[in-house]
Amino acid sequence: MNLIEWFADPAHWAGPDGIPRQVLTHLVYCAIAAAVAIVVALPAGLVIGHTGRGAVVVAGLANALRALPTLGLLIAAVLLVSPHVGSQLAFTVPALIVLVVLAIPPILTNAYAGVTAVPPQVRTAAHGIGMRPWQVLLTVELPCALPLVISGVRSASLQLVSTATVAAYVSLGGLGRYIIDGQAQLDYTQMLAGAILVALLAIVVEALLLLLERLVVSPGLTGRLRRLPDPDRAPGAGPDPAPTAAPVAAPASGRAP
């Protein structure tokens, strides 16, 4: 059976093992892992970036987490968890744990880097008009850091979509089923179909997150805002903080005390 025939076979689109169901399962694993990772890593990254405390720890921790081999961690987690959980959760929980571990580093480091990259004059100005520290963080630093924060979420999501395939190694569903089963059954068409589905899903998820980035990031940060003539100010008079706030360009140095 060639690839086109495989995709054309209606049996592959129906039932609990069908493509729609497996795509959904795959997305559910990714979404849960991404949500947990965001809840854990985003506040931590923002606070570390804001206070400047724990930066060394976060860099070390994030890199250590990145170095963990997902498949090895998954099997170890299953062997550790299964004696304590009688049900199929013994597979689901470890799979989600390793996916969360995978998703934390990009989100954490990007949130931290995003906040550190906010130009000091912006922060000083916010303090200057009497904002409290948490207001500075939430209403100034976070919006300025959003492009980097979202790119962290994007890169975490891409890794999740591709790596959630390992769940199939411990009996769970998702697109990895086609890859693991295809290999075990020497059915390489099925394997290839699984790989293609994963790639397509990754592209779709990436496109959606790019769209989200367009919607939520302040136009002032992206350079997409067409400069309107400002009635109160002569054009080109004085520095405007917004364009310089492109976070990648700004050095992560000096900051208001």
């Binding site: 004696p83 199929q88 597979f91 009996s171 290999q183």
Partner: protein, 310 residues
């Protein structure tokens, strides 16, 4: 490696592969020594014993080698050869002379279409189908084959002894096995066709590995596929269900030899080993090697001594 060097390395590799193929050398053999230990040698030199790259094959290879040595036959060891795809050609070209094999798996290798599953049937077909120059000697009753396993608790609760006993219960049970079981006759398909067993769910695990073992001992699955030689079966109080309708392919352990390289004296020794070897002994020896980290060669010698073969 720099990109510039890659094409040269690839060419060299291709050339080396072509050379190997052209001279018919198998695994581990020195191409220059091919004339010396090639297919022309008769029973005069050492018997080269090989093994596959997993533990029970290595253990049995050690038993064969030590048994031959005990009778004063010169032996050379060439263990941990990757897989059947590598060592069978190695036997044909004379890189090795003798290797432990499993009747069913070997038969499927030489005849993928075979439908034989019972011990005698498999052995009979094997003798017919083996490539020219290879032979299998007497088979032992020891088998390393698929077996459905439940915990002692489950077995006691439902009075389970055979696979057939599962029929009224399967609708509420979870079965664990390797992913290939979904489509294999030697798996779910056969369980349905031969026994009429329809499990409530199938959980795709590994082939008799740690995931399978853990899943059954911790209750994620009720029934799981393991191998009969797995020492954990005894250690963790698991019960093997008898395959009363003969679904699972026989996997009797037997010596696969290069016909001309193993003489009558050596054959008599190997036959005596096979006459004594059984599954329980293998499982017990595997337990010593895995759990107590004993040396396979010493474990093999102990078994030979205990059975009056050394």
């Amino acid at each position: 490696m720099t990109p510039r060097r890659t094409p040269r390395a690839a060419t060299a590799l291709a050339a080396a592969l072509a050379l190997l193929t052209a001279t018919g050398c198998g695994i581990g053999s020195d191409p220059l020594a091919a004339g010396e230990e090639g297919a022309d040698r008769d029973g005069s030199g050492p018997v080269v014993v090989g093994s596959a790259n997993f533990l029970d094959s290595l253990l049995v290879a050690n038993i064969y080698a030590e048994a031959l040595r005990a009778e004063g036959i010169e032996v050379e060891e060439r263990y941990n050869i990757a897989s059947r795809e590598a060592y069978v050609p190695g036997l044909i070209d004379g890189s090795i002379d003798l290797i432990p094999e499993y009747s069913g798996a070997l038969l499927q290798y030489v005849d993928p279409e075979t439908e034989a599953t019972a011990d005698a049937e498999v052995l009979e077909e094997l003798r017919v189908q083996l490539p020219e120059g290879l032979a299998v000697l007497e088979a032992s009753e020891a088998q390393s084959k698929d077996v459905l396993v439940v915990t002692g608790e489950t077995a006691a609760e439902h009075g389970l002894e055979t696979v057939s006993d599962l029929v009224p219960l399967a609708g509420e049970m979870t079965l664990g096995g390797p992913p290939e079981w979904k489509t294999r006759h030697n798996g779910i398909v056969g369980l349905r066709e031969v026994y009429g067993l329809e499990f409530a769910t199938f959980v795709a695990l590994d082939a008799g590995g740690p995931l399978s073992l853990n899943a059954v001992t911790n209750g994620q699955v009720d029934v799981v596929d393991l191998f009969t030689t797995d020492p954990a079966i005894g250690e963790r109080d698991l019960v093997m269900l008898e395959d009363d309708r003969g679904l699972f392919l026989a996997e009797n352990i037997l010596p696969l030899v290069r016909d001309r390289a193993v003489d009558g004296e050596a054959r008599a020794v190997l036959d005596a080993v096979s006459a004594r070897l059984n599954t329980d002994d293998i499982r017990e020896m595997m337990g010593r090697i895995i759990s107590q980290r004993e040396n396979p060669t010493l474990v093999a010698r102990d078994w030979l001594t205990a059975n009056g073969l050394a």
